[in-house]
Amino acid sequence: MDLLQRTAHEVRDLMRKKEISSKELTEAALDRIEKIDGQIEAFLHTSRERALTWAQEVDKRLQEGQELSDLAGIPMALKDNICTEGIPTTCASKILGNFVPPYNATVTEKLYQGKAILVGKTNMDEFAMGSSTENSAFRKTKNPWDEQRVPGGSSGGSAAAVASSEVFYALGSDTGGSIRQPASFCGLVGLKPTYGLVSRYGLIAYASSLDQIGPLTKDVEDCALVLNAIAGHDPMDSTSAEGKEVDYRKALISDVKGLKIGIAKEYFGEGIDEAVKRNVYAAIEQLKSLGADYEEVSLPHTEYALPTYYILASSECSSNLARFDGIRYGYRTESYDNLTDLFVKTRSEGFGEEVKRRIMLGTYALSSGYYDAYYKKALQVRTLIKQDFDKAFEKFDVLIAPTTPTPAFRLGEKTDDPLQMYMSDVCTVPINIAGIPAISVPCGFVEGLPVGLQIMGKHFAESTLLRVAYTVEQNNAYHKERPAL
């Protein structure tokens, strides 16, 4: 296997045995990006000089025999809505096209402290609004398994960069499925942590009560290593949870004896591809053969999750994106008559169509006379959706479902019909609404395209999720497949 196709923990071991240096690894990653990214278009910017300087520093420390973190010296990428001081952070939007953050996100800072090597920032749906990365103002990322297809979204650039072995792992953000859906489409492991486990400081906000940062990796072990690096309480994020530090590597146990699995029946209904279902059921049967028990369970409000999500997410985004006014940072229109005209022209020229649509929907839902009918109602339904999960977790350790209704769809297939595009998140949005964690892990292929299995747990049950995901992975070999590029 080519060096770059290996996992982060494998190259960490090679580096520690001095079989490879961080500089060689980083150069190889940057060269590969130069060679294939014209085709995949996963990156919005790369920073070669900076990455190589950092890599040399890691090599020096390794030579000196210093003890370094698991991720030290390993090339990685960040989604372009995660702030990086001195490195452009655009949210794939024209309105932030020239923005260079004056500070780092907490996750950036934590990875830098662990001497991770940032090689570049990845493409995404503008402001993380979308499910295919086609809403980027700058380029359309391709799925490395089939370049006629989307990588998923909104963290499509991060997923494609890891799947095509341009970097060893990447961070994405997940508001309604934006880590798990692209992980599923690109054959990766993708984790949406419990709301509050990872700091959102420096993540450019889309919908603050739903957003979480998480890893996209080639296997479950890498997922645990990255989660170790980014999780933890942060005084800069008042919604970040206080709690004991957990070493997620300890969850890497291939054993599910006695585990109680709930099969959430609403996630296997209309619109879910038969081949996807077959793969997911096969994985569940396998877990049973390994000693787990399963039973069907109903989460009756699941069908209301998607409309609830679109009201809540749009309402929060209309408020969050009010800050883009052309005064303090970002794009400003060229000519204007007065202050209001400056705002209107700046925003109308700076935002793309889907972002405007969600700002409009949210403004409408929050406007006088409609607030109770839409926003408040959605918050009440949110309570019911959360209660469905609470009840299920009284009886089950985890719930299992498909991550996405279908494998990756074709570029352009859903761009004219927003509702069709929204439907691709039907299996992932309930998780964000309830704030629980969920992981997508590869469970097979349909006509050469990866399929993901989604494992959900109660708040802060990441260790349980990792253990079940690890068992699925270690009893199959899907995670060893790489796309031919």
Binding site: N98, V100, P102, Y103, Y195, G196, S209, P235, S238, T239, A241, H301, E303, Y304, P307, T308, Y310, I311, S318, A322, D325, G326, I327, R328, Y329, G330, Y331, R332, L339, T340, L342, F343, V344, K345, R347, S348, F351, K356, R357, I359, M360, L361, T363, Y364, S367, Y374, K377, A378, L379, Q380, V381, R382, T383, L384, K386, P418, L419, A434, G435, H459
Partner: protein, 95 residues
Amino acid sequence: MTISIKDVEQVANLARLSFTKQEKQDFAEKLTAIVGYIEKLNEVNVEGVEPTYHVLPLLNVLRKDEVQPSMEREKVLANAPDPQQGCFKVPKIME
């Protein structure tokens, strides 16, 4: 509910956005379809159900009242489209 061109204009004004005639038509159609879909929530009986604003039981998160350094002025202004004399310059707000 049908979203009319007039509704689009009103909401656009609140959101500080403007659209061409063609865009207004397109927004009216697509928003009508989306609002039609989200009205599915009318089927749910929510009488007596408390709204969930936030999923974690966090209340009144306060930091210690200690003085901390702020970001340097140059950094704050580095991205400004029109900084002047250490400030953000804005167009006249009163006639």
